[in-house]
């Protein structure tokens, strides 16, 4: 089964300068995204998970050039997105949409739903104003908003409905790839389920590819085909969802999964409690970024950074435990 690669991220780096003093001299760099690579196949959902500050959102923003990357390439259908001029990039942007976590701040409060939905159609010159109105009604119905509701303002809606508006606004231009940055994280459980179902339905109907960014491991398991686990700006492991959840290789993934609270009191999970906090990304540890907290740490991890490689077919991991040639050296 060979699938088309829609998006290919190669050695992407996003460093933010730290400026101090009156002269705003650059005194250091925060390595928010540090050399990550992954592929996204056509019509699949690829999820990026990790704790706050691991760089998952920065990755999403960098792909869409909301942030200009420090280094690396992003190929969309074989063409490097970073080679486009700003003006040409706008045309491609129609195919690539983004949905954010907070529907309260991502919708202009002075525009009605109708205005909000028409705006992207006119910006991309996809239809005349009259046709655009028809498109608005069609997409509103798809996401579960009634025709009367489209003349209201965002503040008149609940969080779940506002997220429906954001989804409609992203999908009205008929994108191919949608980046969802914590799109359901701010919603209550019962509403979250409604929105997730909607997203899954729409993906099938419009043949969308999703890059799903989330910290919620239960939600990620539900929606994804493949998952990438990030830690401190680096990719630690990528695999198919079931493989990752059932046979995680990286000690970080193992402890992350064991920390999810169970929803069933009769099942007592054995948890791996990690020591300490996530290190400061402006001053990352040497060697493996996880070695300070890793329960399986050995001397080599402190000095040498593990290479991200395919340890089993379709299962990539960055950990010295799986360096085959070095296996004999391990205690």
């Amino acid at each position: 089964m060979h699938k088309n690669i829609v998006l290919e991220v190669n050695h992407l780096k996003q460093y933010f300068p730290i400026k101090t003093g009156v002269l705003r001299r650059t005194t250091g760099r925060v390595k928010a995204v540090d050399d990550i690579s992954f592929e996204v196949h056509e019509q699949e959902t690829f999820s990026l998970v990790g704790e706050s500050g691991c760089g998952k959102s920065t990755t999403g923003r960098t792909i869409l050039r909301l942030l200009e990357p420090t280094e690396g390439d992003v190929f969309y259908n074989g063409r490097n997105l970073l080679d486009y001029s700003k003006r040409d990039f706008r045309k491609v942007r129609r195919d690539l949409q983004m949905i954010f976590q907070d529907p309260y701040s991502s919708l202009n409060p002075r525009m009605t739903v109708k205005q909000l939905l028409i705006e992207p159609v006119l910006t991309h010159k996809l239809a005349s104003k009259k046709e655009a109105e028809k498109m608005v009604i069609a997409i509103a119905e798809k996401v579960g908003l009634s025709t009367e509701q489209i003349n209201r303002y965002p503040h008149e809606f609940s969080g779940g409905q506002r997220q429906r508006i954001s989804i409609a606004r992203a999908l009205i231009v008929k994108p191919k790839l949608v980046i969802l940055d914590e799109a359901v994280s701010a919603l209550d459980v019962s509403i979250q389920a409604q929105i997730l179902n909607l997203l899954i339905e729409l993906q099938k109907e419009f043949k969308l590819t999703y890059v799903f960014i989330s910290h919620d491991l239960n939600v990620v398991r539900h929606v994804s085909d493949r998952v990438g686990v990030m830690y401190l700006g680096q990719m630690m492991e990528t695999a198919a969802t079931d493989t990752l959840y059932e046979r995680p290789l990286h000690p970080y993934t193992q402890s992350l999964l064991s920390a999810i609270p169970s929803h069933d009191p009769s099942v007592k999970k054995k948890r791996i409690i990690l020591k300490g906090d996530v290190p400061d990304p402006s001053n990352p540890p040497s060697g493996c970024p996880f070695h300070l907290r890793c329960p399986k740490v050995h001397d080599r991890c402190k000095i040498e950074k593990p290479i991200f490689k395919e340890s089993e077919p379709e299962h990539w991991v960055a950990c010295h435990l799986y360096d085959n040639e070095e296996l004999s050296l391990q205690p």
């Binding site: 706050s52 609270p261 929803h263």
Partner: protein
Amino acid sequence: MNSILEIKNLSIDLVDGRKTYPVVNDINLSIKKKQRYGIVGESGSGKSLTSLAIMNLLADSLKITRGSIVLDGKHELTKMKKKELRKVRGHDISMIFQEPMTALDPLYPIEHQILEVLRFHFTFSKKQMRDMAVEMLKKVGISRPEQIMKNYPHQLSGGMRQRVMIAMALICSPKLLIADEPTTALDVTIQAQILDLMNELTEDFDTSILMITHDLGVIVEMCERVAVMYAGEIVEETTVAKLFSNPAHPYTSGLLRSVQSLGNRTQSLYSIPGTVPTPKQQTAGCRFASRCPHVMPVCNSSPPFLEIGNDHSTKCWLYAKEGVVNA
């Protein structure tokens, strides 16, 4: 008399100009000594307001209209004077909040903030208090307490700040610790650390916990008993084991179905249709009726809170028949 906190018929109204809207409606709960009690509900269910009412920290626009909150069988908290209350807060009952950064004062080092609690309730010497503070910080798992004491809140990570909050809350060995979404702002690996710590410490300090959360997983990890709140009312109250094995109220079973169907990609997620009614959308009868799959004509009048089995109560007409037969 072994309950540490007894809430009877508590109702809270939101006053908006001349209108009032009920936001918490006639709730009862009783927390025993050393018990870990959970209140679970979605945003707007009134769970946080209930906890603020216990501490008497409600905003001016919110008024307790009815009911009593009794601590340790003797203190009626709703009728206490401000001065008396200040002796109870921090000493008998303490509270930790969701966002430790807003609960800690950014202008003072940690030492000052921990000692403030002690200075207020006791008359120890400064040296004694410092020793107590260092000891407490060690107990919450802070490895370099002397150095942390000199730090300001912004210099600490989220998990560390929450540890400091827990240290401050437990330093007077309170009888009751109210934890309002203590781990919601934290990452899962840090959440696991903090829940573990809270479990350990409350054993050591003989403290009861009232855990307020939206996360059923946290309830499973932490609590023995649980009350489910929906739109200002308690709709179900029982042990955690019973709630999960045998949920009675349609809202509870819907909630459980939607979290438990997560992860099974072959099926679509179970979701409860509709949205939570706001306090301003008052309806006669059951607050859940518009979203309920089992709605009946009788749901137009408010359902009674019924005992449906050993240690298991719910507010739903579905169980009324049996209740009538029993009576």
